[in-house]
């Protein structure tokens, strides 16, 4: 059954340069850009303050070389620590920058979480893995340009054992404990990473088309999927651009290039079997002559909270929503630069004169029910995407549930 998503808010020229990544937490949508800033957009006032979104956004300048990946963890920590929100952003210089965002004062407190020896690496992708089990630590995972994957455990307190008192005491101290590294055999760009806390798996995607799935507890590789693209005319690339586990961890979705097209392949994680591809009919009419999900590279994917649907976005300026079970496309959002509400913020060409009329979509995220305010948002899920026209767009599913 098809789904309809309706636009609820957008911000054109949200950043001065391309916006490469976004993440949706409960209070804020966070974006990062080549201009070196991260911006926090309050989810609760998106609809009401449509005309003042850019004024209200909380901005933090991070690094002059620009930022390409952002992720955040929003968690309630035990031992009276309370709610903690940590934002991590990776700059083009290869550094990871961590900030604790203080919601009450809207201030950013810079955190130094990584050992100085590891800071020398040129990091690329990063991912927070939130654990719902109190005895299992949250984890932070990052890849570097040479193909290695690094895993840290996140601890919010120091445990202090005092002999005079029977019970240990806990002192707040947000810090990392380095768990280990999944080394790469060859120096290949590790483009993307994701992990499933439920299944205890971590998947790393590489520029040469390979995906390595490893155990999160031991960091021991389990499966390697190689060259998942199909070959043909003009097929010169099969770089993996996104790997994503379903919320339960039973499925792994891999987005990779097939020449200038984008493919999405689903794998089950128990035995590493390929389940199938998400495809749209190509020129052959009803019969699929190519297994493409997008008429351009697929940059990002996002499962909804139940794992029934997968959203993908690509260079073709489209966001597609798929039914994972039937592998059918249930919705396509065609992004156009002229969608932007405020006319002055419409960007039709970039500084080099390249057209942005149909802007490539660099990242897409699902918005859980109840994250946004307004009619329908309590019961319906939404989508947020960032595009090469330097815009952020928010959508919600139409209809009631």
């Amino acid at each position: 059954m098809s789904k309809v998503f309706i636009p609820i808010a957008n911000a054109g020229r949200a950043h001065e340069a391309d916006i490469y990544s976004t993440v949706v937490t409960n209070p804020y949508t966070i974006s990062c850009s080549g201009d070196g800033n991260i911006k926090l957009w309050s989810n609760k006032t998106l609809i009401q303050e449509q005309n003042r979104l850019k004024e209200l956004a909380i901005t933090k300048f991070v690094h002059q070389t620009g930022l390409h990946h952002v992720d955040a963890i929003y968690t309630v920590e035990p031992h009276d620590i309370g709610t903690v929100m940590i934002i991590s952003a990776v700059s083009f210089s290869g550094n990871i920058h961590f900030y604790q965002f203080m919601e009450d004062t809207s201030e950013f407190v810079e955190l130094d979480l990584i050992d100085s020896e590891l800071k020398k690496k040129s990091f690329w992708a990063c991912k927070w893995v939130k654990s719902s089990d109190q005895v299992v630590h949250h984890r932070f995972i990052a890849t570097d340009v040479k193909g290695n994957t690094y895993v840290w455990k996140f601890l919010s307190v120091d445990k202090i054992e005092e002999e005079s008192k029977g019970e240990p005491t806990f002192e707040k101290n947000l810090h990392f404990e380095f768990q280990g590294e999944i080394p790469s055999n060859n120096p290949v760009f590790a483009t993307c990473v994701d992990a499933s806390c439920n299944k205890g798996l971590v998947a790393t995607g590489f520029a040469n088309g390979a995906v390595i799935v490893s155990q999160l507890a031991t960091l021991r590789p389990l499966y390697t999927f190689e060259g998942v693209g199909i070959e043909g005319v003009d097929q010169n690339s099969n770089s993996v651009r996104s790997v994503k586990f379903s919320p339960g961890g039973n499925l792994l979705s891999v987005a990779n290039d097939s020449g200038s097209y984008g493919c999405v392949t689903l794998y089950e994680t128990e035995y590493g079997e390929r389940i199938g591809n998400l495809t749209v009919p190509t020129q052959g009419g009803s019969s699929n002559i190519g297994l493409f999900a997008h008429n351009g590279w697929v940059f990002s994917q996002a499962f909804n909270a139940s794992g029934e649907n997968l959203a993908t976005c690509g260079y073709d300026g489209k966001v597609r929503v798929w039914d994972v079970k039937t592998k059918d496309r249930v919705s396509t959002l065609n992004i156009s630069a002229t969608d932007i509400e405020i006319e002055a913020d419409i960007m039709l060409t970039d500084e080099n004169g390249d057209s942005l009329k149909t802007p490539p979509v660099f990242d897409v995220q699902y918005i859980n029910q109840g994250t946004l305010n307004g009619v329908g948002n309590e019961t319906n899920e939404g989508l947020c995407c960032v595009c090469m026209d330097r815009s952020i767009r928010w959508f919600r599913e139409a209809g009631g549930k």
């Binding site: 340069a17 391309d18 490469y20 002059q64 620009g66 390409h68 340009v145 500084e351 080099n352």
Partner: protein, 351 residues
Amino acid sequence: MARSLAELMERCDTRGDILREMTPTPRTIVMRLPAAEETALPLHERISDALGMVSRAFTLAQTPVKLVMGDGEYPRPLRFPFYGNEVQRYPDKTTAMLLALMATLQQRLAQGTARSTVRDLYYSNVQLYGDQSQVERTLGLISGCLGLRSRQELMVVPAQKGLVFTTFSCTVSGTIIQPNSIELIPYMHDGIFEIGNCAGPIRVTVFEKEAVFNRVVETLSSAPLCAPHILVTGKGYPDGLTKKFLANLIRWGDASPTSVLIELYVDADPDGAAIALNYIDYCGTQINYKGTTLPQLIARRTQLLDLTQRELQMAINMLSRRRPPRAIATQLQRQLFFHKKGEMNACYVHT
């Protein structure tokens, strides 16, 4: 006079005395030659005088020489053959290279040989110099000794590499560039640059690739333009002459009523961005970077290649250290984000 160790031990009571006794008395030659303002002698004679002093030290006095270079690259004197008990801080061949190069330059200047390039000088004694950078370094040393402002005073000029094509006849530093023909960028003297016979604004297009330059020239030959147009290629990383040509063109445009618009086309890869920065650093921001960009290549569904590890690091370093202009930074960021690169030929050669 040669003495045995036994004789030395008899004469000297301490180790220090032996060392002093064994240290030769060199002939000190001050290589800081008189500058042009201080003497009426031509350059080749000043070099000849210095060489004569060194030669006499070797042949007549048979003593080592100590060449006092002044405050340049070697603030300490060069000793040849090397003696003393401290560590030698310069390669053995430095003095030999200096003298050999001085001799070559002296001969060429005396004969009035038109011009030498670093390449010519290098090939005059490949075995001694090893590579061209040594010649460059030694030339710097000689220029310093002679108090020269530029190597051109030694008639050492950069080799011509860049190509130029104009749709109109023009004169650059006295050299006439014929219209509608490909020519090497001519040598220019500082401060003398003039474009003659030109009406209206001049459009200058600079290409990284020679193949693209040739293709555009072919196209222009079959369908000539009415407006004045100059095409330039530096064949990859530009040489000094090509950059100087463009810088002079900009200066000339600023000073004359004829406006000059310069557009630069490079590959969509980190080397292309580095080449663009190379031009912009030398000539200023009047050089308009026009691509080629990855979106242009993707729109044509051309074959793109993965960035190599070297290119990845190069792009990261450029973004971190050189703070490129926004247009170039955006391209570098997109190349990294897409992990792709492309060549400009796809956009211009097959059209």
